[in-house]
Subunit: 311 residues, 6 copies
């Protein structure tokens, strides 16, 4: 596999190492430290001249740090003669800031996309972005991989009485993708305005009575959405043992405490983000084979079609 360089920032060394193992190709040596004044210093220790470089770095929190480190590494590669530069970002922060919401806000997703273009990348690889519409936001060509097959395969399906549940409207298409692979029906938790006054309730659409819900989402941040979905499902008569699966487990704030208190048989996330889950025994499904396969095919100029989100 001559001419290939795997390079990693410091955001998720475990995942980067696992990708390298899958590929049987070592990570390029590099330095990534800070000067006493807090500025980052990066340096690549091997020649990358003419190489096809895959820079593995999720933009997970603190995203500003990992983004700037990614851009510095890219600049070093570019100046050192890299032939092609691909950002492998299993998690992309600011993906939800894809519009101005309440007023004079930035469109953070576009800013991140533009910074990557400025940084000299030729291509971006991401996994289960918050919205497929982010493809249009990226100036660079985007390979939008999906971890749904990996996660769906890892779920110990609890029998034909299970039901895939989308915890809000935004995850409905994702739930359909899980359901297709698990051969299960779909239900939907939704917030809805029920009167002229500003009253909204959370209800469940679809048959969940006595069924075991498999609640799926693209990411778990504070755990609040899952917590509310579980309450709505119990109220709708679902089994009181559930499964939760999400591609990105950020587990920020009260997330671990909240989820640990719910009747969850299993919580599955990938290792896209190197977050700690403490008391919560979340199962990590590794993205390494998926990312390695994508890198292998990109380097060999073969189609990625069956690895991509089709939405």
């Amino acid at each position: 596999m001559s001419g290939l360089t795997l390079l990693a920032g410091t955001a998720n060394p475990g995942l980067a190492g696992a990708v390298a193992s899958e590929l049987g190709h070592p990570l390029a040596e590099r330095e990534a430290a800070r000067f006493p004044d807090g500025e980052m210093h990066v340096e690549i220790r091997t020649s990358v001249r003419g190489h096809d470089i895959y820079l593995i770095q999720p933009a997970s929190p603190p995203a500003e740090e990992y983004l700037l480190q990614l851009l510095l590494l890219a600049d070093a590669c570019r100046r050192a003669g890299a032939a092609r530069l691909t950002a492998v970002m299993p998690y992309v922060a600011y993906a939800r800031q894809d519009r101005r919401g309440t007023g004079r806000e930035p469109v953070g997703a576009r800013l991140i996309a533009d910074l990557l273009a400025t940084g000299g990348f030729h291509r971006v690889v991401a996994v289960d972005l918050h919205s497929p519409a982010l493809e249009g936001v990226f100036t660079l060509p985007l390979e939008h991989l999906t971890a749904v097959p990996l996660l769906a395969e890892a779920i110990a399906v609890p029998g034909p009485d299970a039901v895939v549940v989308s915890p809000d409207l935004g995850a409905t298409k994702l739930a359909e993708r899980y359901a297709r692979q698990l051969d299960l029906p779909v239900a939907l938790v939704h917030k809805r305005r029920v009167s002229g006054a500003e009253v909204t309730v959370r209800g469940v659409t679809g048959d969940v009575r006595d069924r075991i819900p498999v609640v799926v989402d693209d990411m778990i941040t504070t755990g609040g959405t899952i917590e509310a979905a579980v309450a709505a499902l119990l109220e709708a008569g679902s089994a009181d043992e559930m499964i939760v699966a999400a591609t990105h487990g950020l587990f920020v704030g009260e997330a671990v405490r909240r989820l640990a208190a719910l009747p969850l048989r299993e919580v599955l996330v990938t290792d896209s983000v190197a977050a700690q889950t403490g008391e919560l025994r979340a199962r990590r499904v590794t993205l390494a084979p998926l990312l390695a396969e994508a890198i292998r095919r990109l380097h060999d100029d073969r189609s990625l079609a069956d690895l991509l989100v089709h939405a």
Copy 2:
């Protein structure tokens, strides 16, 4: 209002004229014809040097024609010394092509956005785009206006027993915006997989029994979505008299015939697109005051905040 130029392509002369009337400012004289070989010829008849130009042209079907005409007019303006060039596009085609869906497709929305940037515009004004996430797709700053207040005000609300209905998941947030203004509850027609097999049914979430539905969507193209929603609503026991409101009435293919066959008390659309509705007595709510107010404020450097989609 010195230094302002209103210019229109041929896509929707009625709307352009109405905007000009609202502003009390004439449309600039221009030629827009075709040479014998089919190439378009445009020419602006008055000096635009140093002017703040608003080029009114929805990219409605045939979008390729109106887009290229828009770009030609913009080039003429730029070369003739325009100081600022704003594309006022009440309808933007290709907005739904914001991702690669099933495979090696283009991201049409981004292409259109990039062509507008190449064309020398400084800013785009649009109305109720298919998705608020298109803001990130546009390279140019986008003023994303909404016609919901105009349409909601125009609806003859049939009393407290009405209910705003989203005909599919994609229109849910739009339905909430109508509901807030009309002080009504929201129901939702949705397609859902009901078993492990590939069986999907259309159901209704929310209380519609004996209520008069106000079905809302961003646009009416073939009328198929409305037709299916009406069937689902009737099956769910709604009143058999309904109202339909949508910002963009394209009415392509069988749309007019289909809608005319439904128990619709009223169909409301804006004049964003100059489509014919034939036998269907659709009511047109004009966008002219909204666009005129937006132009007035842009020209005067005043805030548009209360005219924008907040999503």
Copy 3:
């Protein structure tokens, strides 16, 4: 010929197929249809990752349609990992709009050139553009091929008494190129102001008496220029049997009727444009060998020098 992809839009499937046959390399499968709302949908059916792609699409009338389709196909290729993207455009519309003529007009040729650059192409192949000066208008490198050798060879030269005729000043250099290959003298039809008053007449410069004119031009649109030239030639005593040759046969409006009424022994055009000639028995000289040879050499990194217009 690994790594090569031939792709065609819908503008001239006959020519695209002939080029593929020449190369012994199939056209890539693709979809090119319209959605019910009139938006174009394109999709490429085979992997193009890492490929050197030649996208065959003349921008013939309706140019706006074929241009946007070309740009959509290019975007699909770029996002799917194309290594190099060449627009093979045997006919390029708007080539005559290379200046502002009478006033505040666009420079359409430059706009088209800029759209192609925005579309992600790396190179453009064209044939007998209206003016060699368009090379400077194109931002992308341009391979300006010429069909003159093909056409000249196809002309059944009527003997040493023939004369190559340029029907107006603009075609003079083209006529010289034909004359060199056919080993014939050149004459020139010209409009000229003959007095202080606004009186212009069409005269003939050069010896045409009793000679058989071979009238050459870059394109035939309405046939008006040819019609006037024939009249002037007859008046100047030429033989009353003539030959007409042009690279691009658009035959718009009254062209077929007009030319059919003239004493033309033969009309030769290439298949750059897929126009119908009805009652006029125009002979088509195919560009397929020329385009195939250019593609073969570009793909193999060999010189195109002897295929290019030298002006």
Copy 4:
């Protein structure tokens, strides 16, 4: 006329001063010297912050020097806070290199145009470019002024028996413009292939017998074209006293000697280029009023339509 800055390089101080006088507005003080190592040093002595700057500098030979000086001055203006930067280039070198002629050549005209865009200019003002098609070559908006009215007015028309003569095909449209203003007919000197062998002769089309030719061209470089035209005209029986008019008088090489030897009653050129004409008593018609009027209108945002080449 607040906010206006007139700035000049060293290419044509006489013309720059005359423009300043016409406008009643002094040239900004600046330094333009060379360091001992030959590098140019420029510095602007007055504040230009927020100003609308007109940088007067023909790119006459040695064009590389005047171009780089122009770019250095522009960079100084841009960094010093210029609001708008217009290159006033009465003569633009490399305009004839608008295509690759015989092979692997640059397209010099486009390179110059791109360097001006890189240099931070917003607009270019030029006079009687070699070809109107250069408008498409320029990335920046171009104001293509014409000196034909000034020159035509300055010609002492020798009576109704005069005839405007184009000395080659390229100047035909220019000759028409002179003829319209002078109310005279047009004749044309042309080179033409007269047999199958490579034999070309120079002939005259149009009635010149006993008429006084007014030979017009866009520029006089070596004088060779004029010399040959005069010979052809005399052979065709014209009066043996002629007038020559051209916008740009470069008078390089043998030009002065050649023209001095011809039966020319008068040679008129503008002061676009600061060339010496020695023994040849060429009359200089100053461009100052034209350039001053263009600057005045550009600064005041008024139309330039009647000052432009219409081609």
Copy 5:
């Protein structure tokens, strides 16, 4: 002062407030917080449409945070219709990474400069950058202000026996600027190789015996340079009471402890960076008047010449 907006990030609210007070113009209300997942959220509370915006934010450590916040604020301004956007960055991180030093490193300074250009700024205001050569690194026009006059004026000059000392070669030109204003001689501490072996010593050039050193530098980071300079000065017989002045006081790591242990009569820094100095009684000279004056003149289109570094 209509049309002016002052906006501040969170890097140095004290300085931003002081600038606003100096200008008698309030800071625009804005939100700058973090979402639970750690992403930054910014929003501007007042209309900035058509405004000339000055965004005050030093890129002090943690630079990645303040830089991304600055870019997000700029994006919000740009989309909300800002007419002009100036980054007022009294401190610019990564300024020393202006070359690849030991190998395959990034050029961090250029990356920062390019991110600012991508972010939509029109101009950058900085103070005493590590090297004047950074002006060429910035793509955007840079106003390189100097705090030397403010600091020099604030130094209680200890009499004619004082001497300005540059603690290393890099600060020599800075020392000359202090010396000119304080009317004092200059001495220089330098490291120098003293033999063929790799032996370097720190010596003092210039007369410092019994003189009171005024040690000046552009910034104080760890204090190590100052500590070594003080030792060299004492060894060279200087007075044992010194003054230290630097524009940027970052005081990272051991800096406060180190400097507190030295025989320093006074340490002067500006408030460019909001660092704590704890036990070290460093005197802060505020940049507010300088920045306010620069903003006032930029807004009014007046020259900044006398506020700039001349090097």
Copy 6:
């Protein structure tokens, strides 16, 4: 070495030929002449399609000529299908104009860097630029080679009593690099303000008594700096026989006369610039092996690390 093209402008044919000899690869045939009107004409005589092109052209005086020629050659290569284009510029003019010094000046170094980027180059190779910080000024990746090892090796070291001397502060780091290779100590000539009044003297820091100075600098222009350094060294008691070494020998103005009058045992420069040294017997150390090795490795995608300036 297939696919490699060496191409040279006219600035330094000797060096270009030597590089070609070193590589055993001929210079590509090209024309580089002037038209009668002074415009440059370049043309490449062999196919460069798909080639990796190294364009050898120092931007030595007259820099404007060699720069424009370089850009014209690059444009020809780009249009003719070059795959990669590297500017090999052993000398880069305007490198010292990297900041605005006394006022409203351009930043010439950045302008040159931007022109090279506009010209379509992918990479620049330079030798011992005036300042390592120019790496950040270049938009394109820069390979900053050093001739110090070549020159140091060529110096006939006069024994252990020699001392490397930096003739001013700017060359100190360069002197250290020479000293490391020659295993010698370093001394420093410096100008310094010695009192409150504007009095500066030139002194020597470091032990030079009876030692033979090896005065080193990046370039020799007028020889003034060397002349002053020699005077200071003699006054400080150095040996009265010295050696001078510099990468770039421009020898402008009085340089040759000045240096010939000094007690110099030897003057060493490289052949980066094709200047004449007349009576001064300067020894030329050729850069050809260095440039050839850099080109060989770039073409083969191997590391250049040990050939670069590390600063």
